[in-house]
Symmetry: C2
Subunit: 224 residues, 2 copies
């Protein structure tokens, strides 16, 4: 296919495709005349992966290039390849700078307790996500909202069930590049879905409890 | 207490407290001399609520002032007060501008189907969160990642369980202001917790499946 068709089928503009070619994120097409190159299905899959990393995942170009090179490494299994791409993804929520104060130390301990409870392998915890989690918990403590393992449990269990359904989705995709592209894109694109669903569910649950309380003879005590 | 103690107990700097006083987000203290004011526990609770709305929730000052005035309205029940504060909270994820294209129309329909499945009251869906959800789903479709009600279900169920545990937490707080403050603060502060837990859980689940697949004689086909 020509560049115009590659653009149409990938949803990436011709100017951006040319930029990716110059940056060597995308291998050159096959020259059929001095001015015209042909692109194949492999280009399309690779382009969609580049789009997932950079446009959707907001990965810096230099990082994306490193990831793409690393993905070509021999002897990597599916999990390592996925881990490579996912681990390089900037966190959806910006972590605070992490001072080594007692709140951070406590957060690290609580995460370790939770990970053990869940049977998680400490070696398989992506560094960026782990750092974001520790920073977020330390912020909670510093602002005077204490938490413990019991507070984290419902969140962790929900995250596990969501991760299972995320991984199920990948089974629908055939090729290596498609699986990685989809994992990166859906991880990022479902983040606002999850956060807004939580807020909608909170409103419903608050409404439900208020009703539940009002029905059996409201003492007036239920109002905030 | 004096302003210095109010600052220490709230974690809000004296300069910021003075700013809130000037902006009438906080009622003035009781003047004991011409140069010294005394503040009470009610000031502390109010200040913590203001901090939750503005510093944690990133609500614009003008919006926070409107919320604080509205919260003083007579005849509002707990659910309405909570809904007022939560509904004015800017979304954790910035929604895309929402063009009225087929992707948006489809997203609205899918959200309506999901809400009915969950028995949600359409009148109790906060506007901002609903808009963020519709925009996020429309983005998925526009980028060529189709979804349907079945894809949303695990996210929605997880959100419902999280919301139940969020609401349970509020029971630990006594006063009206404390409940609203805590609801706002924990909603925002647990967002990076939830997102990073999902990424950690994905890595664990990917690792688990890879192992599960490798054990019974790896055909080499499992690698991405």
């Amino acid at each position: 296919m020509r560049l115009a068709e590659l653009s149409e089928r990938s949803g990436v503009s011709p100017a951006t495709i040319k930029y990716y070619l110059r940056e060597q994120l995308l291998p050159p097409g096959e020259l059929v005349t001095t001015r015209r190159a042909e692109y194949g299905e492999e280009h399309l899959r690779r382009l969609r992966l580049v789009r997932a990393l950079i446009q959707i995942g907001r990965m810096p170009v230099a990082t994306a290039r490193e990831v793409l090179v690393a993905l070509q490494g021999e002897g990597l299994d599916q999990n390592s390849r996925l881990g490579l791409a996912m681990g390089a993804l900037p966190p959806g929520a910006e972590p605070d700078p992490e001072p080594d104060d007692p709140a951070t130390e406590l957060a690290r301990q609580q995460v370790a307790i939770m990970a053990e409870e869940l049977g998680w392998n400490p070696k398989e915890l992506p560094v960026a996500a782990h750092r974001t989690l520790v920073a977020a918990l330390a912020t909670l403590a510093r602002l005077g909202y204490p938490y413990d393992a019991a507070h984290l449990r419902p969140y962790a269990r929900a995250a596990v069930r969501i991760a299972e359904s995320d991984l199920d989705l990948l089974d629908e995709y055939d090729t290596a590049l498609e699986k990685i592209e989809t994992a990166v894109a859906l991880t990022v694109l479902y983040e606002p879905v999850l956060l807004s669903l939580r807020r909608l569910a909170q409103a419903q649950e608050s409404h439900r409890r208020q009703h539940g309380r009002l029905r059996p003879g409201n003492s007036g005590e239920g109002a905030v």
